[in-house]
Symmetry: C2
Subunit: 569 residues, 2 copies
Amino acid sequence: MEKRVGVLGGGQLGRMLVEAANLLEIQVNFLDAPKSSAKQVSNHDGHVDGSFKDAEAIKNLTAKSDVVTVEIEHVDTYMLEEISKIVDVQPSWQTIRMIQDKFAQKEHLQKYGVAVAQSVALKEASIEELESAGKTVGLPLMLKSRKEAYDGRGNFPVKTKDDFKSALEALGSNRDLYAEKWANFSLELAVMVVKTKDDVFSFPTVETIHENSICKLVYAPARGVSDSINKQAQELARKAVSCFQGKGVFGVEMFLLPDDTLLINEIAPRPHNSGHYTIEACPVSQYEAHLRAILDLPLHQEDLELREPAIMLNILGGDSPNSHHAFAREALKHRRTKIHLYGKGQAKKGRKMGHITVCAPTMPEAEQLIQPMIEFADKDKPSSTTTTKPTQPNEQPQVAVIMGSDSDLPILLPGLAILSRFHIPYTTRITSAHRTPSVMASFASSASSQGIKVIIAAAGGAAHLPGMTAAYTSLPVIGVPVKPTVGDGMDSLLSICNMPKGVPVATVGVNNAVNGALLAARILGAGDVGVRRRVEGYIRESEEEVKGKDGRLVEMGAEGYAEKFLGKK
Amino acid sequence: MEKRVGVLGGGQLGRMLVEAANLLEIQVNFLDAPKSSAKQVSNHDGHVDGSFKDAEAIKNLTAKSDVVTVEIEHVDTYMLEEISKIVDVQPSWQTIRMIQDKFAQKEHLQKYGVAVAQSVALKEASIEELESAGKTVGLPLMLKSRKEAYDGRGNFPVKTKDDFKSALEALGSNRDLYAEKWANFSLELAVMVVKTKDDVFSFPTVETIHENSICKLVYAPARGVSDSINKQAQELARKAVSCFQGKGVFGVEMFLLPDDTLLINEIAPRPHNSGHYTIEACPVSQYEAHLRAILDLPLHQEDLELREPAIMLNILGGDSPNSHHAFAREALKHRRTKIHLYGKGQAKKGRKMGHITVCAPTMPEAEQLIQPMIEFADKDKPSSTTTTKPTQPNEQPQVAVIMGSDSDLPILLPGLAILSRFHIPYTTRITSAHRTPSVMASFASSASSQGIKVIIAAAGGAAHLPGMTAAYTSLPVIGVPVKPTVGDGMDSLLSICNMPKGVPVATVGVNNAVNGALLAARILGAGDVGVRRRVEGYIRESEEEVKGKDGRLVEMGAEGYAEKFLGKK
């Protein structure tokens, strides 16, 4: 392709950017040290050796490039402003300057009505100023450096007044500081947003897990987040990025608070660690999306959707210089595990040396596959510093079996036995359409985002549970009519089966939980070869069983058979 | 990683190989011209400039490498034999020498009991020898050069005796030739096989479509191929590769004959055009698998399984030197389309300049997405030279809607409209449990292998069709009870719903084909995001519709509403 891209910085983000560019024959010129990570996978004469802080080198890069972009926001935006007169700079220098200063970034977002944590700038790094800020945002608070802060450096948690002095000492007296209201978040979420010349697109909402303020794990999609929160997160991220000028991808980190509100934490004007998973998990990666955005090449929202759930785990440098290779060798032993090493040479403790991504048809499978590598990463850690948020149990249920009353449970047991036999993980819940209507509604609405694929609902009499559940979800719902104490169960059957047009329930016979479970297995079998094989095995066994009975009937005659097997003379 | 890999040749296969190697920090040294395709994405001092046919250059490469491999089989195997004394050569020089000579390759396979087309070597390139060969293998036959043949070069179809002279002239008198029995294949299939030190693994069976003897399209998995043929193809491919020494990936091309037997066409001892799709479609690509195999790194069969159906389309050079860029710019406009350009500079007519891969949740979707690019590739072609084997219709049915009698069809129409609205391809059939029992049995038994995912069966009265269909398949069957002329349809409903334990039918309300179709959509939605989104859209619309009615009812009052919308005073 014709246009050449110049990049300030040639680390791992640049490396993954040029891996995408190589596929499109886009020339990318890096300004960085001679054997830097990105230059190792890009062999041409357009690179510039030197520091991305050096004015002369930047001019040299500019002369060779049609569009200049950054892989790090800590650049000299005054130089960017100058070169923007002769070359296209994306995103704009104004955006990078604004985002560099985290306090200015937050003020800017607030001006546009984007939810951010309450923040107060300190006029100087003094106890008095900090005290005054504490009165505004309350204690505890997070004291932050306005600039040059990343991976947790430049943050200091201030719990009480006793921390004032050590906080100011830790962050240094010659830095501009601000105090941020403490966010007692329940989850950290992130969304990669792509700003093109005409549109603002977004990748899925992911869950990020930090350890010692460094990103450790990314779950795509975020686990246990309702559709409504997911939608809010997407909208908030797009709204936040819309406040800035220029094109390219932006990493938007946010907090989900216990009351389900969302706050922007911070924004990066470039590809981001929380978007590495997109390389394998989406049709177009964050890197290719950045190139397409800054070069005005076409892009579609669908290109940013998940192909499969994915989990990314960072490879951080350990104690030995080859610790990342030891990690990679271990990772190679595991299935579906894609390794990305960054070519940074010898490992330094805590430095990002690479990452792995596991994609699988379901999140529980991905969790199961990556678990040994999380343990490997944690093996040398003192047991106190475990992951801030433990991963969910491996066997996440695929079927939810719900009943209006515990009196329905005995009827369901043979069906549950079928699910166990087919190795289908399930959960059982008591939730009544009439006695706990809101619990039922909330359960049904969130079932899909919890990884449930099929719901089996049992009910008797007026039997509203299956139909009401179907009304709150787009999952297939199987209704098992339960015979009530009075009557033959026809009331249950018709209540479940005769749903209005638009809201289907797959109804089976009265008390026939076995068929309900087999139907769930047939439905799951469409996407799961293992289940399909087990259904086929069951069908073959049933056939053999009936053939066996027939053989014995022929052999023994009707009377003998009835006497021996049916206890009838 | 410690071991360095040396590669004879640095074209596109080498380029994609080193793209995989870069992620693992494996140094790959290429022997080829200075700016060759592979060297462009690998920047270090280990490369050797020169020809892979030059002995001195090969020795130079050997000195810098721990394992030497090839990206093309037309190398000097005597040099490989020599360097194998000092460096590990994979796959072995014996294997490459054997495979280079296509006739020797076939004789070798035959010796091990692997099915290949009958072939006769010509002692010399003479009419007499060709005539004698024709007596053995029959006419028409394919006259082939034993060596240096690829992409159709070195093949000449001999239809009658009149072609003898032109065939010999075309292939040249100083080449070793052989005659091969004409294979009137119904499909060309290919399997990439990975030979490790301990195992022989295989990627999925794919369908290849050639045009002018050059690979044009690859469909993964092969379309319309039964489970049994697929299994045979996998076994044949693994068996064939097991006959050769050494480690690495092998491309196995085969013919599927009309009587469902399989024959090996030829084997390539290296990554292959028919395996490019693995980059996006499998957890581990053929390139990474090759590296893992030759370096004794772990690998798992599951790593080679399909994540999603995929279609690959080659980008061949056109009339202008930038034709491949024009192709790429067009491809960028399409969703889910991954572009790979090879960095080969100016296009030459018919040369492989790159490829695109489209992955989608289902093959029909992938077919639909790539169709415009197939048309773009074909746009300048005279209409006579169409694809040798036309692609199958895009819309392979996912739902079969069956009825016992055409009198059920009017009831089903609203359900069919729902399927169309959700873009779910379906087929409708009349098959009666009572009047055509064997047709019904055969249809139901083979539905799954035909790609059907869900069956909707409508019946009235005794209404045996849904239950009998369920008895012959492991697919989910949805039963739509049809109200007969006499009675309220309760007979139909109970006949369908009250199935014995073991054979479930998902029953909906009487005449409620809409709910049957919606249920099918919810079931398909589990594995197909597109369908899921459309189901969710439908639910939202229904909600809006009812809210709209409610709004009008509030506004107009009950009487006004009834008069205006229900025609009642």
